[in-house]
Symmetry: C2
Subunit: 217 residues, 2 copies
Amino acid sequence: MDKGLLLVISGPSGTGKGTVCKKLCEQNPSLYYSISATSRPPRRGEKDNVNYFFLTEEQFLELREKDAFLEWARVYDNYYGTPSQKVQEKLNKGYDVILEIDTQGAKQVKNIAKEAVFIFLLPPSMEDLWLRIKGRGTDGQEVIEKRFAAAHHELQEIENYDYVVINDNVSEAVCKIEAILLAEKCSLIRNEDVLSRLVEEGDKIDLSLHRRNVKKG
Amino acid sequence: MDKGLLLVISGPSGTGKGTVCKKLCEQNPSLYYSISATSRPPRRGEKDNVNYFFLTEEQFLELREKDAFLEWARVYDNYYGTPSQKVQEKLNKGYDVILEIDTQGAKQVKNIAKEAVFIFLLPPSMEDLWLRIKGRGTDGQEVIEKRFAAAHHELQEIENYDYVVINDNVSEAVCKIEAILLAEKCSLIRNEDVLSRLVEEGDKIDLSLHRRNVKKG
């Protein structure tokens, strides 16, 4: 069975990453959405093994010590990370795996999984992003401005990505990511085994034709 | 309007390139199938401007002299080539353009149009290719064997291509080429203008926020 493809999706907060990834997974049962581990306590309604793998700080640091994370970060007092083993298991079973992570995490993944595919989700315009961030209505002006500045700043990290997908329409964005997945599976470097097989088969047929011709001649 | 994408499709005779390209164009009105020019006389049923642009040898060589071909080749006593101007016109109008050409032609295109996308169509197996070539029923054993050996040899040229598409099912092969087109349009290098625009927009918003905060402060 072919190994699955590791797909890293990043993008500033407010671009609708979550919605896009959710729809993508709903439409593609062969996709596994990687669940992060965190040392922060569950919020109301969050479930262990669904929203996060909830760990104590001690457990998290122990795993980090064992290189058990594809990427990890400390945000304020909490740790977040992508458990490697689960991702590897799914890839080996032929699932494509989505990591919805930030640009710093993506850099870490790129260092150890060069074959991964990196997609950056963009808003149709910065005006639109500004309105989306503001529209959440849960944050004060200062937080909104900080979030926007961070998003703006994150655009500089885009050079590390292979593809950019503009999310002006969720269905179209999902469709584009599906196309990227399918296209990447056709890329030359991911099909070297197919080529070797065809060349070998061709050699055998050529040889048998040659033998037959010698016999006739 | 965005410029179209130049798509080069090659593959050994017998892989069903023609059928795949025909269906691809039928399903995508924004695709233009590039018609080749040739100095060979029309065969029964072939129409000028439809199957080929039929030229005299003199006309062909005059155009070649003026660098009017993206690629050209002499096959026995006849010349074949892809007229650049028509391709450029269509690309500028936003059409994606398909060149169904051989591996030698593809090399020439790669030298002058690095931004083009190169797809190699493959048979599901060499046994299958052998049967398809034989199954045409119009050629003698020697011609069949030569054609198969050529196909086998052509596999060596595959390193010049970006993607390989196995044609075990025409609809699926078409679907994969459509995905490649869509994915390529999302590639980072083809979206630098989008990025510049977003960064610029972000700068303006950041600046106006800054001004307002200074005023308040």
